[in-house]
Amino acid sequence: MGNRLGRYGIWVVVAIVGAVCWGMLALSRGETVNAGWLLFAAIASYAIGYRFYARFIQTRVLETDDSRATPAERLNNGRDFEPMDRRVLFGHHFAAIAGAGPLVGPVLAAQMGFLPGTVWIIVGVILAGAVQDMTTLFFSMRRDGKTLGQMAREEIGPVGGAAALIAVLSIMVILLAVLALVVVLALAESPWGAFSIAMTIPIALLMGIYLRFLRPGRVLEVSAIGVALLILAILGGGWISESSAYAGAWTFDANTITFALIAYGFIASVLPVWVLLAPRDYLSTFMKIGTILLLAIGIAITLPAMQMPRATQFAFNGEGPVFAGSLFPFVFITIACGALSGFHSLIASGTTPKLIQKESQVRTIGYGAMLMESFVAVMAMIAATTLDPGVYFAMNAPATVLGDTVQSASQAVNGFGFSVSPQTLQNTANAVGEESIVGRTGGAPTLAVGMSAIFAQVTAFLGAGLQAFWYHFAIMFEALFILTTVDAGTRVGRFMIQDLVGNVWRPFARTSWLPGNLIASALIVAAWGYFLYAGVNDPQGGIYQLFPLFGIANQLLAAVALTVGTTILIKMGKLRYAWVTALPLAWDAAVTLTASYQKIFSPDPLLGFFAQRSAAIEAARNNELFGNAETQADVQQIIVNTTIDGILSIIFALMIIIVIADAARVWFGLVRGTKEPELSEAPWQESHLDSEGREIEREPVGARS
């Protein structure tokens, strides 16, 4: 009894702390709520989820077996297969899954208030996101590191497999476009930002040469040099933006940056990786982890109050200026990666399963790393909601709604039911060293303003006026790793196209063949470049139109992963526990399909692509303007964009229906016994490693007489 109390007593305390924090968040009567409550509510919930639910999944559902050798042990070649220390692998896996999504999504979702997004970030990760990552990692590990696409093909069938492949490719395109859009919006008209980001190219080239020819493999020293140069580049940007001679030369409009990015993406995809991509990846990984740590420390020290209300009217009326649609389903679509990210299933079925030492470690690595990712999303939510809500809306509504001046923006914000004085908007812009902050959509600038306010408060003892440095530090960090993503994503997309076409025409699949390389690179760059260009010039606001599509695509991939997981659980004879993946799947399908349905069929032109299209066509016929359009050309642009976006929505919805229907066929066959459950697991072999990865000493057979 006493033992039991000792074992569970601490968890009773954790549960009470968590409940009190959640209570403060939901019910506190004060004007504002302190971010500390949110921080501790999150940590207590994660701890309970990890200790109880993840453990339940590990021991009862998956029944991990530490006496079974993992592929890392059986196939160890010191290169791609290799048992890796679980702490190191945790770091690798977290660095691989942490991208821009959990930073951008919560910022946009903050238009509905801090509570709806937060609840989903925390509940969603515990019951869905981390479960998906952990189960996919386990299933792929049992299959020697097979990819999600291969598992979909083997466990469901060729139709499900093909749908998964098309889903991945289309997600990639829309993802790259939206992320590139975030960068363009953050750098346009900002000489400071443009200069410091441009400098990352020579810095990366230098690092590449150093790593290739001078000191191969010395990643730490070259990264230290790189980060130092990066800080210099940020300081240099400040100098440029104040110099009358250079500020103009480094001020670019959105379209110039768009084309520069498209050209850059193409070149980076064609070049060998060591020149640009690999060194940038090191830089961005260190910057990413470092900045996330800084943010955590900054929030813990300053404990800011959240200015945004718990829930705004946009949660219910669906007329928010950042994205259309009401709480269900759009808050779930927008949060995306911080709670449940389909793309993680590609990581969990990529490099990581080949490096796991012990089966039970899927809990730390799969579930644990995803909890960290969710925590990053919580911090992004805090940074965005500590801003004055008026400033938030003046930054995130489409520029066409806000107008060009602080006066017009202030009026527009009043129209949303919030208030902000033109002076406040100008002061905020001055504090961060920008000409204007009005209409800086995309989430990155908002996050940077929030983060820089927190950092500036911490470093206040060093003097005032540091906020501008921290703002550009934050922009640099976001832009750097989004650009790395654009490079890496373009390259991967290129390989996927080469692989696909290679099935029909052999030579195309050879990745070293230059014409194939050039054509496939051009195709993939043209695809995301088109959406990027359309987004930058969309009169309705590119983020407003495209971000929901990105969210839907990512959640669609999660549905594929959860479907594969459910199928495998049933085949393992775990029908009784299949709800572990089937319930998140049902929820995810409901969210994704409702969102798709509304995007396709809603009669509201704000929400439905086709309703918007017909309204725009009608307006064009009468020679009138529509929506935020200022000219007839804008109206035509809206017609084209909504047609393409609408068709994409249809394709996404069809994919998810096909995958689930095809899997349901397999499930029924298995349950009714008309289908043999064939598991394609690698056969059991005894492990010779202990839990720390050391060789277990064994007495040779026959040594004892």
Binding site: V168, L176, G217, V273, A278, I347
Partner: protein, 64 residues
């Protein structure tokens, strides 16, 4: 004094491990036991291989 340095030593070891700086040394050990008849790749060659493999694989980084 030594005890104070311990966390930093640990951090440094962790960084070296996670950045892949000592991956080559481990590879040589594994290679020597599994294929003693063939010479292992050189350091430069090894990292070149690793890089190629890493960036040609969609499961290496989440773009989101």
């Amino acid at each position: 004094m030594i005890a104070l340095l311990k966390p930093f030593r640990y951090m440094w070891g962790y960084l070296r491990e996670i950045s892949g700086e000592n991956a080559y040394d481990r590879y040589v050990v594994v290679h020597m036991t599994t294929h003693p008849e063939r010479p292992p790749m050189s350091r430069g060659e090894f990292y070149r291989h690793r890089q190629e493999e890493k960036y040609n694989n969609p499961g290496n980084r989440c773009p989101c």
